[in-house]
């Protein structure tokens, strides 16, 4: 059936749908739904990791294969350093920029290396906002409880407490750098309600929150003259032979040369995994989201936590074809946008947590109530025009200019017509194990941002990532800088790689695959 004909049903049923309040599910119902439909529970997509710190733990095949992969650096590699720094920050997203700025401010000699250009990252795309408990009816404790609930009680309490308590001062820091968060008429920060939160707690910069934060942080990194190595991908870490991290090997992607960096501390802020296309899902992530920190830290003997759980964002684009996998902001649902199946019915409370909403969309599609596109994909409607109907004409233009533009480029007017969505691979819930300073069990190796794990439990709450980046980027940067003052530079060896290779041999793993992946292989072999 033609898309327009199907859209009409959404228009026809709008008034009737508005009259109904769709209840949230009970905890037991949520669990049952997730177990049956969430991709995290598709057993055949998983397998145990064969060796290393997480030997025997189950994760998706795509990740397991990379973790067991071989280093691209040969054993006899010349480790004469080209740079010698206090702190090497890897990754130019939010966590990396925050870490670099704080380490620099604390007097450290920093090098910021990033795979693409500074700022080309997931961070720049965050639209929905950043959770900070600033409202008068809200509190850090409330933020803690909401996050725990969202994370199925599996969040690391210490990490989480630190994040929610430092949130407000992070908000202050960003304001002092010139980030223009939306305001109320009385000058206070405007807060929006996000899925899974009991209080309105999302700070926003219209629907360009990540872009605005990153424009400012990038500008400040340049103002502070933090030395940069763009198109510099870390492909291996270095250790002193006793498990302490002492530097890294980068590859300059412009000329393929390897660059050895001696560093008293290394902060990995390399972000997520979307470009691994786990279980074949399209993704909302940036080009370099290939889970590099997981691989690098794992080879250093650092365990990963909750690495079997991923976030499939409920609203990835399905139509037009160019927007497949692209994120459609959650803000539409926060502002009351309905999800509607092919029969014109709502089927879930749109403000439930992401795993619940995604599972219910998958359920609708698997049970034949999805809308099919000519390209053979299926999805459900997100009723965008409802926002203008409910809150007055111009609402979408005013609050969702990025999304209006996103669709306008392909001649779709979201003010007039609903859009089709289906879950898209969005976020790695778990990651590298860290403590409250961002340090991993390998001394002087820090991980900050999406690459780290534990904080979000089994499902990250909307808006908590941007805060996570800033809080743990700062903590890692400051701790590393402080330590550098008294720490001598350790020896540079590849002993951990040699050990890892022996382990691989003992377990008969010889896929021949080099990891980290660095960039996805999209180029067609012609």
């Amino acid at each position: 059936m033609d898309i327009t004909a199907q859209q009409n049903l959404v228009h026809q049923t709008r008034d009737a749908r508005r009259a109904i309040d769709f209840p949230k599910l009970s905890p037991a119902e949520r669990d049952a739904l997730i177990k049956k439909y969430h991709p995290d529970h598709r057993g055949h997509a998983y397998r145990p990791i064969k060796f290393g710190p997480n030997a025997g733990d189950s994760t998706v095949k795509e990740v397991a294969t990379l973790l067991e992969g071989d280093s691209s650096i040969p054993a006899d590699f010349n480790l004469t350093p080209e740079y010698s720094v206090d702190v090497l920050v890897v990754g130019g997203g939010g966590a990396g920029c925050a870490a670099a700025l704080h380490a620099h401010a604390a007097g450290s000699n920093v090098l910021l290396a990033t795979k693409l250009r500074l700022g080309d990252s997931n961070s720049v795309m965050a639209q929905g906002g950043m959770q900070i408990a600033v409202g008068p009816d809200d509190s850090p404790v409330q933020h803690f409880l909401d996050t725990l609930k969202g994370g199925h009680m599996k969040n690391d309490h210490d990490l989480l407490k630190v994040m929610v308590e430092e949130g407000p001062s992070i908000g202050q820091w960003l304001l002092e750098l010139g980030v223009l968060f939306d305001r109320q008429s009385d000058g206070n920060l405007h807060v929006k309600k996000g899925g899974g939160s009991s209080k309105a707690r999302l700070l926003t910069c219209s629907d360009y929150t990540g872009l605005e934060i990153m424009r400012v942080l990038k500008d400040e990194v340049l103002n502070q003259k933090v030395p940069l190595l763009e198109f510099g991908a870390v492909v291996e870490l270095l250790s002193d032979g006793k498990g302490t991290c002492t530097g890294a090997v980068l590859q300059d992607l412009d000329n393929k040369r390897h660059v050895v960096v001696a560093a008293k501390s290394v902060i990995l802020a390399t972000g997520g995994i979307g470009r691994l296309h786990i279980q074949g899902f399209p993704t909302s992530n940036h080009y370099g989201a290939t889970g590099d920190a997981l691989v690098l830290a794992y080879r250093m003997g650092v365990p990963l936590v909750q690495i079997d759980t991923f976030q499939y964002h409920p609203s990835g684009g399905v139509y037009p074809e160019q927007l497949v996998g692209a994120l459609v902001t959650e803000g539409i649902r926060s502002e009351g946008g309905h999800l509607v199946n092919a029969k014109g019915d709502r089927f879930v409370n749109e403000l439930d947590t992401r795993d619940v909403v995604s599972s219910s969309i998958i359920k609708e599609c698997e049970e034949g109530r999805g809308v099919r596109t000519a390209a053979g994909r299926s999805g459900v409607w997100l009723d965008t025009p409802l926002l203008d109907v409910a809150h007055g004409p111009g609402t979408l233009d005013k609050h969702f200019p990025a999304m209006v533009r996103q669709y306008e480029r392909y001649q779709v007017d979201i003010r007039k017509d609903p859009v089709l969505i289906y879950p898209t691979l969005h976020y790695q819930n778990g990651g590298v194990k860290i403590d409250v300073t961002g340090e991993t069990p390998a001394p002087n190796l820090f991980v900050a941002g999406e690459a780290s794990g534990g904080l979000h439990g089994r499902n990250r709450l909307m808006g908590n990532s941007l805060l996570d980046l800033m809080v743990f980027g700062k903590r890692a940067g400051q701790t590393a800088a402080e330590r550098a003052k008294s720490l001598p530079q350790g020896a540079l060896t590849l002993d951990h790689v040699a050990k890892f290779r022996e382990e691989a041999k003992r377990h008969h793993v010889s896929s021949g695959l080099n990891s980290p992946m660095v960039l996805p292989a999209y180029t067609r072999q012609v």
Partner: protein, 239 residues
């Protein structure tokens, strides 16, 4: 969905399986057959090109994929973001190379009079000759020329509103006959607006003080000694 596309490689090629119809486009002056309707970025991959410089967020937010293009028989060269634009038959396009625009270095907190300081940091800004080339070059449809004038006249609030959509692709800079990099001027003005001309939110200061004063300690003490089960019940009841 997804079972037929288990590797990234297959994922990008999916478009070609679905839409058998092919179109001819010119990439950097050379013709290639690519599937109709794919983005310019996917067309590059389909044509067998490795993309390093030119790809970033792949979602229309980072400006890495700034591209010049022309449609069939139209002499007008336009701009777009290659990750967010579909190919058409007869289209011709190339990525924009990195442009060496000068960024001024400043410490915002130390500036005494940011509206005046603009003329020292970016002395070229007031030399705008109103040619409007920057506005025409902007893939985000920002009225860039107007923004430059707003900055010059000290209306930093307007600049910050107008440039909230700016993805820093830099396409407004190479076209400027006065050597202005409008996006950099705008970042300066927007940040100055935030640092110097925007009210400090009182509620935030109060919250920070309360946390520092230990006002939430009692709540923490109560919450943190709960068992997981008790916590579960606490959280379940606060929807």
């Amino acid at each position: 969905m997804g079972s037929d596309s288990n590797t990234p490689q297959q994922f990008t090629e999916q478009a070609s399986e679905i839409q058998a119809q092919m179109v001819t486009v010119e990439i950097e002056g050379k013709p290639f057959q690519v599937p109709a309707g794919v983005t310019l970025m996917k067309a590059m991959w389909y044509a067998g090109k490795e993309v390093l410089r030119g790809a970033g967020c792949l979602g229309g937010f980072c400006g890495a994929c700034a591209t010049y293009y022309r449609t069939k028989d139209d002499p007008k060269v336009k701009t777009c973001l290659a990750c967010s634009m579909a190919v058409e038959d007869g289209m011709s396009f190339s990525f924009m190379p990195a442009f060496p625009a000068r960024k001024a270095i400043y410490d915002l907190t130390e500036l005494k009079d940011p509206k005046q300081d603009l003329f020292e940091l970016y002395p070229e800004a007031p030399l705008c000759r109103n040619c409007n080339a920057c506005t025409e070059a902007c893939p985000q449809k920002i009225d860039v020329r107007e923004g430059v004038w707003k900055a010059v006249f000290g209306d930093f609030k307007a600049v910050s509103d107008m440039f909230m959509d700016c993805v820093m692709c830099g396409m407004c800079a190479p076209v400027c006959i006065a050597d202005i990099a409008p996006n950099l001027v705008a970042v300066y003005a927007s940040r100055a607006q935030g640092v110097h001309f925007t009210e400090k939110p009182k509620g935030l200061a109060t919250r920070i003080k309360k946390i520092a004063d230990g006002d939430y300690q009692e709540d923490w003490d109560r919450i943190l000694q709960l068992s997981d089960e008790e916590l579960q019940n606490t959280t379940a009841s606060i929807t």
